[in-house]
């Protein structure tokens, strides 16, 4: 049915043209309980990550990796001196937790950005070019998609020894793009049929121009949505690797903390040590997931529609 929407809001200056859609999206986002919880949790984690630099400045013994409390030789419970207790070497668990938040953001966001970048560009290329390029790229995507990421990283690290945290990030990115690229390709295929793309062609625009001006702005929101889900999976993979003992020994991640708990046999003796990183991993993945779900609602065109019926 033909619907004529007619609104008469004040005009927004050109350079801030995105503010209108953004405010509209924000008002939908605000209605979502999931989104609000997710965002609150994320802000807490972000504050934790930002604060991770403070403890070592107060006292070198609070350095998460190298700082050792000289008075302590074994794992102790929470005290005023160590809010969450210490690990087996006398390192402060609270400062490790803060450092872990920083690593989680780093790993999650950078792996997600890389895999989304790969997935989006490959998906757009495949969808726009079509024919054999499409077939080739999508078969490649299928091949990678069926490989279990965790297993491949395990094999790689047993071949090459301990992997650096950035290597792990790159590997996660390389293995997590196919899902995104499939979705972006589908979106591109449908956009290619829309007559604004044909209008651009008739106007003489080049393929690159069409991709940049017409395809990309319309797939980017979807790509951002998938980024939140990819962050979740990247954090989980990194934690699993670290817990299994294939993490970067030079960084303090929550997975690493869990591995220390387990390796030193404190699994059932030191809940103050086991629970915080475990809970943090669950909560941060949950919060990104909830954020994604809320963004899904923001991007859902059915919810954007102004009037029904009439």
């Amino acid at each position: 049915m033909k619907v004529d929407t007619f609104q008469s809001e004040a005009d927004i200056p050109r350079r801030f043209g995105w503010i209108g859609p953004f405010l509209e999206g924000w008002s939908i986002f605000k209605q979502s309980l999931l989104g609000k919880i997710g965002l609150t949790l994320l802000i807490i984690f972000a504050v934790m990550a930002l604060c991770s630099f403070i403890p070592p400045l107060i006292n070198p013994m609070y350095n998460p990796m190298t700082g050792v409390d000289p008075e302590i030789t074994h794992s102790t419970g929470p005290s005023w001196r160590h809010w969450l207790g210490t690990d087996f070497m006398g390192r402060d668990i609270f400062s490790q937790l803060l450092a872990g938040a920083r690593v989680a953001f780093m790993v999650g966001v950078s792996a997600a950005v890389m895999s989304i970048f790969l997935g989006t560009s490959i998906g757009m290329t495949a969808g726009y070019m079509g024919s054999f390029v499409d077939t080739l790229l999508m078969r490649l995507a299928d091949m990678i998609m069926v490989m279990p990421t965790l297993l491949v990283v395990l094999i790689l690290s047993s071949v090459f020894g301990q992997l650096n945290i950035w290597t792990i990030v790159v590997i996660i990115a390389l293995f997590r793009w196919p899902g995104v690229s499939r979705i972006i390709r589908g979106q591109t295929l449908s956009l290619k049929q829309r007559s604004f793309v044909e209008a651009a062609k008739v106007a003489g625009a080049s393929h690159l121009g069409i991709i940049i001006r017409h395809i990309m702005p319309n797939v980017l929101p979807l790509a951002f949505l998938f980024m939140t889900f990819r962050v979740t999976s990247a954090i989980i993979i990194e934690a699993a690797l670290a817990f299994l003992g294939f993490g970067d020994p030079g960084t303090v991640s929550w997975g690493m903390m869990l591995q220390w708990v387990w390796k030193t046999g404190h699994m059932f003796q030191a809940p103050y040590w086991l629970l915080p990183p475990g809970i943090c991993i669950s909560l941060i993945t949950l919060s990104f997931y909830m954020l994604g779900r809320a963004m899904d609602e923001v991007l859902d065109p059915r919810l954007r529609k102004e009037d029904q019926g009439a």
């Binding site: 049915m1 033909k2 619907v3 004529d4 007619f6 609104q7 008469s8 102004e306 009037d307 029904q308 019926g309 009439a310």
Partner: protein
């Protein structure tokens, strides 16, 4: 007693932008075997009226005032169970997106038979299929196409199947919402001709809803012109088309290209339809009306009788 009497019906939708007054103060009556056409542009509320008569308003829509008397019974007062029996049993509808109203994975004959059996379980499967055979005869689908799937039908045949389905329970009233919008002109002509014959034959009351004046003019006895949620002119077809009174009706008629008469410059209506969340005070057409007078924007117009049965919502006509 009229088959259907609608009195002062008002319907609104809760939308994100606010409360949208889709229909306001609409009254009309339909005698048995007669047909009534509603014409208006998109967003004028014509589809909403059809949905309200069927009791199928979307969840964010509500009827704020008025009565819908069908065979003397107020449809807004009766239980949902009773309404279900009336719906399809006595009031049937041909939807706007008729093409999509058929289930693609079920044979056409089975779909219609199922509709019959839901309303009168006594007939049984075999009896229902017999009835479908008769219906297909009536709407002009060849017998051998009965067991086809919907995708094997052309657009016109799908539309005929939909009409057969609407006729299945021998309704007293059929509401046809843009019944031929997606069809080519030759098929449209055939379908409209068919519909007129069926209506005469079975003495069915019909309400046609369309944005296309010419279709409504072709099939309806009475015409209601709608603008921005209000009925603005109502009367017999000949009266409304040959001596239109309301400025909107006149403007609408002179914005249609025709193949008859002189080829004169079309007079488009300037501007756009008003926002129904914040409808203008006074006459809703006054912004676009060539004959608007100073008072038009302040005072709500009232119904004026032009001649018996022909009335208009305008002060100055």
């Amino acid at each position: 007693m009229a088959l259907l009497e609608v009195e002062n019906l008002s319907i609104g939708y809760n939308t994100k932008g606010g409360y949208l007054k889709a229909v306001e103060g609409v009254s009309f009556a339909l005698e048995e075997g007669q047909s009534l056409g509603f014409v208006g542009e998109s967003g004028c509320g014509k589809t909403t009226i059809g949905m309200a008569l069927m009791g199928l308003l979307p969840s964010n829509g509500s009827i704020t005032q008025g009565r819908i008397l069908f065979e003397g019974e107020d449809l807004l007062e009766i239980s949902e169970k009773k309404m279900r029996q009336i719906r399809w049993g006595k009031i049937a509808m041909i939807f706007q997106a008729a093409m999509n109203a058929l289930n693609p994975v079920q044979r056409v004959v089975d779909q219609i038979a199922e509709a019959i059996m839901t309303h009168s379980p006594a007939v049984g499967k075999r009896g229902a299929i017999e009835q479908v055979k008769d219906l297909f005869q009536i709407v002009g689908i060849p017998q051998e196409r009965m067991r086809d799937y919907p995708h094997q039908y052309s657009g016109g045949m799908k539309q005929r199947a939909i009409i057969a389905m609407a006729l299945a329970c021998r309704p007293k009233l059929i509401i046809a919402d843009e019944p031929t919008t997606a069809l080519d002109v030759i098929v449209q002509d055939q379908i409209l001709e068919e519909t007129k014959n069926l209506q005469r034959e079975f003495n069915i009351g019909m309400i046609f809803i369309s944005h296309d004046i010419s279709i409504v003019a072709d099939v309806s006895h009475d015409i209601g012109i709608m603008y921005a949620g209000q009925l603005v002119e109502y009367g017999a077809r000949e009266e409304v088309f040959e001596s239109p009174v309301h400025p909107y009706t006149k403007a609408l008629l002179s914005s249609y290209p025709t193949i008859t008469g002189d080829r004169s410059l079309l007079q488009p209506i300037p501007g756009e339809t008003p926002n129904l969340i914040y409808p203008p005070d006074g006459c809703r057409f006054c912004d676009r009306c060539p004959g608007a007078k100073p008072g038009c924007g302040e005072e709500s117009p009232v119904w004026v009788d032009v001649s018996p049965g022909h009335k208009t919502l305008c002060y100055h006509c």
